[in-house]
């Protein structure tokens, strides 16, 4: 059975994956493989996103080029390649050209430390399915992401134009605030896994995937990963309704395509990180660890399935949530996500510390935790509920509102009706005065009620 060489229990091994059998051409194969994988995945991701969003909006989506419209994104890429490359006259030339390159290069770096699978036989060499791994691999991912933001910021600045500058400034603030929450949510995984190396984190999830015991951290990560990649509902740096296209407004042709590429690769990156850190990496659920489905090339399939689950989540969120206003977005980041992540990290650290220093086994710890939660629940029942001020009793039936009360006409809300119109009142009055004609019924339309 070809499997990861497990670290000896007790000894502190830097990483679990064993790269001792690698040669230089295996590195080249892996590196080229990662780039090819990312570029083709981006093409598929664009098609996937357009198709899924279209299904959610009850329309067919791209369906002309190729089977199921699969070649649509290829056609778009070709179009972008041959378009005229406009360089803004007032732009800072060097920075203007370098910015999209920074964005793409940094986004390509992350997958080097993502384990796509366990050790496999590659032309007679046993090698883990990841380019490299080291004791601070996850920190390295954060570092790549934070350098990648320079692409956006510099692109926005160097265009010498208002909207891109606003987009760049927004993205700076956004990434700095959401990277804090993201890093803190990852810390609880480090604490439980006892390592920051990706292969060791995957290895630590043999029993249970970390998203279950660390559910709050997982939720915080999900939110901050959307903020980190500038996707709806957090796409404020490129908000179409406000900033045209934000930082890439002045970019065209291939330089624009590079920004676009970087955005989608970043989506793949954060999805891969979520898969690796919270969803067990390449492990399949409910299958024993020594099954043939957990070794060799099979786990790549499970990894990809999880990766695309997160990609679907991105599209789903985009299809259902509206864009935040900027101050709401910042409030969520600084006043909700970061304090919540901090509190959660402290809780996890305390529990882990108690486990480690008292020698309690996992079951006892869990029972104690459940007892604490139950006690808290009971105490919360004992606290008297805050009295809500008794407002005026609503009259039965739909409420009649004066639509001009605020100075301008407003439509009725659910459960409200408009007063009968003067014309209908006149009609009713005239009908009542002449009993020979039929009495027209004055109907009131109840909205939503």
């Amino acid at each position: 059975m070809r499997h990861l060489l497990f670290a000896e229990s007790g000894a502190v091994a830097p990483v679990t994956a064993d790269f001792s059998d690698d040669t230089w051409w295996i590195w080249v194969i892996k590196a080229v493989g990662i780039i090819v994988f990312l570029l083709t995945s981006v093409l598929i991701a664009i098609w996937f996103e357009r198709k899924v969003v279209a299904r959610m909006q009850v329309r067919p989506g791209p369906n002309v080029h190729g089977p199921f419209g699969l070649l649509q994104s290829l056609a778009d890429a070709m179009k972008l390649l041959v378009k005229e490359d406009v360089t803004v006259k007032a732009a800072d030339k060097l920075v203007y050209i370098v910015a999209p390159m920074i964005a793409v290069f940094c986004s390509l770096l992350t997958f080097a430390v993502i384990p796509l699978g366990p050790a496999v036989d590659m032309f007679g060499h046993v090698t883990p399915l990841q380019l490299t791994d080291f004791p601070v691999a996850v920190l390295y991912i954060l570092a790549c992401a934070s350098v990648g933001v320079y692409g956006i910021v510099l692109g926005g600045w160097s265009s010498n134009s208002t909207y891109p500058l606003l987009g760049g400034v927004r993205s700076t603030a956004q990434v700095i605030s959401y990277e804090l929450a993201m890093g803190l949510s990852l810390v609880s995984v480090f604490i439980l896994a006892g390592s920051m190396s990706t292969s060791q984190i995957v290895d630590s999830q043999t029993q249970v995937w970390w998203f279950l015991p660390l559910l709050p951290a997982f939720v915080i990560y999900l939110m901050s990963m959307v903020g980190e990649t500038n996707r709806l509902p957090f796409d404020l740096p490129e908000a179409e309704g406000e900033l045209v296209s934000g930082y890439m407004t002045e970019y065209s042709s291939m330089k624009f395509a590079w920004f676009f590429l970087a955005e989608y690769i970043n989506m793949l990156n954060v999805s891969a990180v979520a898969t690796t850190l919270f969803f067990g990496g390449w492990r399949a659920p409910f299958i024993p660890a020594d099954s043939f489905l957990q070794t060799g090339w099979w786990p790549v399939l499970w990894f990809l399935a999880k990766l695309w689950f997160f990609m679907f989540l991105f599209v789903w969120i985009r299809g259902s949530v509206l864009r935040f206003r900027y101050d709401q977005f910042m409030r969520l980041g600084w006043k909700v996500l970061i304090p919540a992540a901090l509190v959660w990290v402290v809780c996890v650290a305390v529990v882990q510390g108690v486990r480690q220093f008292s020698g309690l086994d996992l079951r006892t710890t869990l029972f104690v935790l459940a007892g604490v939660v139950l006690l808290g629940l009971l105490v919360s029942f004992a606290i008297p509920e805050k009295k809500t001020p008794a407002g005026p009793k609503r009259p039965p039936g739909p409420e009649v509102i004066d639509p001009f009360a605020g100075g301008y006409p407003v439509p009725p809300l659910p459960g409200q009706v408009l007063p009968p119109s003067p014309r209908k009142q006149r009609q009713a009055a005239s009908a009542a005065s002449s009993p020979t004609t039929d009495v027209p019924q004055v109907t009131q339309e109840v909205h939503g009620g």
């Binding site: 502190v12 830097p14 390295y140 934070s146 010498n160 990277e179």
Partner: protein, 309 residues
């Protein structure tokens, strides 16, 4: 001095060829970038030069087995600190360059003197230092760099670490307190602004586009309302302030002439039955027949435009 540095790099026994190659590649880049910091004309270029130095430095750390330090260097300094610098610099503007006027008299000479003094001290100290044989970080790392650092930070130096942490928190709190401002007026949010706009009786819809009717298509020509009156607030506020808009009264008068049954350019004499010929109606600024919008509309329109900008 340089000879000493050279021996420490090549004579160590732990320095591999690859590491030396990395050093001699990154070294010149770092020096050039550091010089770029000094001589760059634009502040953002200087900041970028610092970023290059920082990332190269991180590569050096990683090459010397200090993986954690290298990565944290990028995350903290490049990703957060320099980004905040850039944030401020970007708001200054693209073409802004530093003012070269000395605010403190003799600042340049004092600075030069201090710099030369520092250089002399550094050369003296570094030149006299004796270098032991480098042993590498193998032993200090103990197989796992972050764990070894954690043992140091939370073991031997935990008090110093906590003190530094408290200092930083105090500094941040101090900045918050010093920049705190008590709110004297109620907060004006989206709803309050909208209500105020409605209460002012202004234009609630987007402003009409200027100059889009049969004879004219120019920014300085007012659009016509549904009643055929020119809408002065359709001309961009900037043109109005500069006095570059076409004369709205002239257009109003033309319209009136057309409505009175004559040509737009040719005045007609309207003969009332049994009376004297009256002159064609012309626009009086007081009667506001030339399509002056509702009172306060121009004001509201201007506010809207500011918000759009």
């Amino acid at each position: 001095m340089s000879a000493a540095v050279l021996t420490s790099l090549t004579d160590a026994g732990t320095t591999t060829t690859a590491e030396a190659a990395l050093f001699w590649t990154l070294g010149p880049i770092m020096v050039l970038a550091a010089l770029g910091l000094l001589f760059a004309r634009k502040a953002v270029h200087a900041a970028l030069a610092v970023v290059v130095v920082m990332i190269s430095l991180a590569f050096m750390y990683v090459a010397q087995d200090a993986v954690f330090l290298g990565v944290v260097q990028v995350v903290v300094y490049t990703g957060a600190v320099m980004m905040l610098f850039l944030f401020v610099l970007m708001l200054v503007g693209v073409d802004a360059s530093d003012s070269l006027v000395e605010t403190i008299r003799g600042q340049r000479w004092i600075g030069l003197l201090a710099g030369v003094g520092l250089a002399v001290v550094l050369v003296g100290v570094v030149g006299r230092a004796t270098y032991g044989r480098p042993t590498g970080l193998e032993q200090a790392n103990g197989g796992n760099n972050p764990t070894a650092i954690a043992h140091l930070v939370f073991g031997s130096y935990v008090f110093a670490f906590e003190v530094v942490g408290a200092l930083l928190v105090t500094a941040a709190l101090g900045a918050l307190v010093l920049t705190h401002r008590a709110r004297l007026t109620p907060r004006v949010g989206q709803k309050e602004r909208a209500d105020a706009r409605v209460a002012a009786g202004g234009v609630l819809t987007p402003l009409p586009a200027p100059g889009v009717y049969a004879k004219h298509n120019a920014m300085d020509v007012p659009a016509l309302g549904p009643d055929g009156r020119p809408l002065e607030h359709s001309v961009p506020r900037v043109l109005r302030i500069r006095g570059q808009e076409a004369d709205a009264r002239e257009y109003a008068a033309r319209i009136d002439r057309v409505l009175a049954g004559g040509g737009a350019d040719r005045p007609v004499l309207v003969t009332e039955p049994g009376g004297e010929p009256t002159p064609p109606p012309t626009a009086h600024p007081e009667t506001a027949s030339h399509g002056a919008p509702l009172p306060g509309a121009a004001q509201a329109g201007a506010e809207q435009q500011e918000e759009h900008a």
